[in-house]
Amino acid sequence: MRWYWIDRFAEFVPGKHAKAIKNVTLAEEHLHDHFPGFPVMPGSLMLEGMAQTGGILLGQTSDFNEIVILAKVPNVTFHSWACPGDTLTYTANLLDVRPEGGVVECKAHVGDRLVAEAEIVFAHLDRSADSSTAAFDQKNFVFSMGLMSILDVGKAGTGAASSS
């Protein structure tokens, strides 16, 4: 399994907000244990999807030169659940960016139904403090995830990458 908890970006406005979608499917093995007879997307993975949406939004502001790590989730509330067949839409708003990191607020919806909302704090990893992080290139991470096409997504596009 690869650790992608978003399928595609639908909107990406650099420095402001981003919208990503996640299609929940019964092919995801963990849903058969979570829970037997009542498959629902685990809240922790929804949070991961929200953090990936917000983390890439933040990372783009430094052209992915900063290593963005999830530092803290001061608030998260789950209002509802998402089942196989549901499309989760994660909407992240960048609240603050500073040299040490950033904060996003993120909401998860299925259609109009609010499923979860969270405030997420990210830190920029201090490369000078630990030489082992110098080899870690977040640009490669984002590129290898095939996520760079996010930047081709229109401001309020349909989710299709532009042809340019």
Binding site: K72, D96, R98
Partner: protein, 131 residues
Amino acid sequence: MPTSNEIYEKVREILVDALGADESECTPDATLMGDLGAESIDFLDIVFRLEKTFNVKIPRGELFPDNIGASDPSLAKDGALTPAGVAELKKRLPYADLDKFAKDPKIENISDLFTVGMIVKFMEAKLAAAS
């Protein structure tokens, strides 16, 4: 400009939100790490919230200085700050009460200087300078 008490009230709200601390625990003398259970990453969250609440910019290291003594061997020796190190700390943390710390200037005791009252004094000075 808000009064000291108004600033204290807001700082207390911030700490309740950021640390999940109880309002009654956030006395002026309470230490962020020892009494309120803050971890280093919480300092970043607290700075974010202070900036947002008071609409000011707090540059990196201004409220919570980075490792003092790590870069300069004349400031720290054998896990404790030298007199020069204590003087440097006083310069960087003008709002902290260093009298007690100076008697036992172990580096591990530096975190005890970060109190609720210190943040309030810092914000008072910051807002006075801005107004």
